[in-house]
């Protein structure tokens, strides 16, 4: 006797509109396109500078045009979204350990000369930095690097 028919629930193509968190996820993912755009923009700018005074002026005119400005404003917004979301997710995705952690013995399977065997190893446990600290330290890092770049550019 064959199994009775189960009903396969269809997944809508607009699944990402069904919850605010899904929408935020999709926007977060899309933001990488705009981060890439900034990288490209920067490269164009550097290239233009390298080609001389006139090339640079052409570039600045182009960059000043309304279309490019709108694109860059949107891209800035998405880049901020990108930064804020990824900084916030870092403590969840990675375990950052502070001075309170220690090494303890553990075991792991290794392959030696084609044979699997158990070997002694060490792992780190404990001392996990609180998420607030991890997130804050990233912003501090961002601020430091930004300050340095600004100083460099203003030289």
């Amino acid at each position: 006797m064959s199994a009775p028919t189960t009903y396969r629930q269809p997944v809508s193509r607009l699944w990402w509109l069904k919850k605010r968190t899904y929408l935020m996820f999709v926007l977060r993912e899309l933001s990488s396109i705009f981060v890439a755009w900034f990288a490209v923009f920067l490269m164009i700018m550097i290239f233009a500078i390298g080609r001389g005074e006139e090339s640079y002026r052409n570039f600045m005119n182009w960059a000043g045009s309304p279309v490019v400005i709108v694109i860059n404003v949107v891209a800035l917004a998405f880049s901020i979204l990108h930064t804020v979301t990824w900084f916030a997710l870092t403590p969840q995705a990675m375990v950052v350990r502070g001075p309170g952690s220690k090494q303890v013995p553990a075991k792991k399977e290794v392959t030696v000369a084609g044979r699997r065997m158990t070997a002694a190893t060490v792992v780190r446990v404990g001392g996990r930095m609180p998420s607030g600290l991890v997130i804050a330290s990233q912003y501090v890092g961002l601020a430091v690097v930004s300050a340095f770049i600004v100083w460099l550019v203003l030289q």
Binding site: Q9, V110, R116
Partner: protein, 247 residues
């Protein structure tokens, strides 16, 4: 507070129906009643044919997961008054095939669970005569969160990847693999990595994070998966740099 609340419940009879329908029932609105109490009222007094799974009614057995107003919830731990004045829509858990009414087919998960080898793997000859493996509270804390999974499947219902790519091993299974990897008594990290380093393993996940948001036991499967990805990437790099050495 009103006397009653309307529940709009999915019905599906595989013998008669080609697709699920919605039935409407009025149940008493009591401040202590969970959605599950509403369903029990319907089954006991209105329509005895309504079928759904439940057991412990205290949020530990994982049987009663359903979609309530579109969100995966444990119906024993979700209260009618939170949806007053109603109506409240109760559907089977998303992303799973429907067997009957609110009962879904979880065979896919039951098949995936053993694939990640969720047991202690080690090959020394320590027996119980030798006593317990030592494990300090700090070491226990490393994996404890991931050991709290009740297999309720709300995370699979919330995961859009699982909905779109049914081959994805999924949040709970990967979190359980991480639970064993982080247990200092286990040595099986390599074996689980071989299973999870595939596309339907950890790399299928794009860190939507909804699984963690819906988990009633605060397991954080999304965190487990990202950590696993880091581990997998590190292994790949090591393998690349030291191809023949013990690793």
């Amino acid at each position: 507070m009103a006397d009653s609340i309307q529940m709009r419940v999915t019905r599906y009879d595989p013998d008669q129906d080609s697709a699920p329908t919605v039935a409407t029932y009025d149940v008493p609105l009591r401040k202590d009643w969970a959605i599950l109490d509403g369903l029990n009222y319907i089954k006991d007094h209105v329509d005895t044919s309504l079928s759904y799974r439940w057991s412990c009614r205290m949020g530990i057995c994982g049987s009663c997961g359903m979609n309530v107003e579109g969100q995966p919830k444990l119906t024993c731990a979700t209260f009618l008054t939170d949806y007053a004045p109603g109506p409240v829509r109760v559907e089977p858990l998303s992303n799973f095939p429907i067997v009957r009414d609110l009962v879904v087919d979880i065979d896919d998960f039951m098949e995936k669970l053993p694939r990640v080898k969720p047991w202690i793997i080690r090959d020394d000859d320590v027996t119980v005569i030798d006593g317990e493996y030592l494990q300090t509270p700090t070491e226990l804390e490393e994996y404890k969160q991931f050991s709290n999974c009740i297999n309720c499947m709300l995370c699979y219902a919330a995961c859009p990847i699982y909905g779109l790519e049914p081959d994805f091993i999924g949040p709970a299974a990967i979190a359980l693999a991480e639970r064993y990897d982080l247990d200092t008594r286990d040595a099986g990290q390599r074996e689980r990595l071989d299973v999870l380093i595939e596309r339907e393993g950890v790399w299928g996940c794009t860190f939507v994070g909804e699984c963690t948001r819906v988990c009633p036991k605060h397991v954080d499967p999304a965190g487990a998966i990202q950590r696993y990805k880091l581990k997998a990437a590190q292994e790949n790099v090591m393998a690349f740099l030291l191809p023949r050495a013990a690793r």
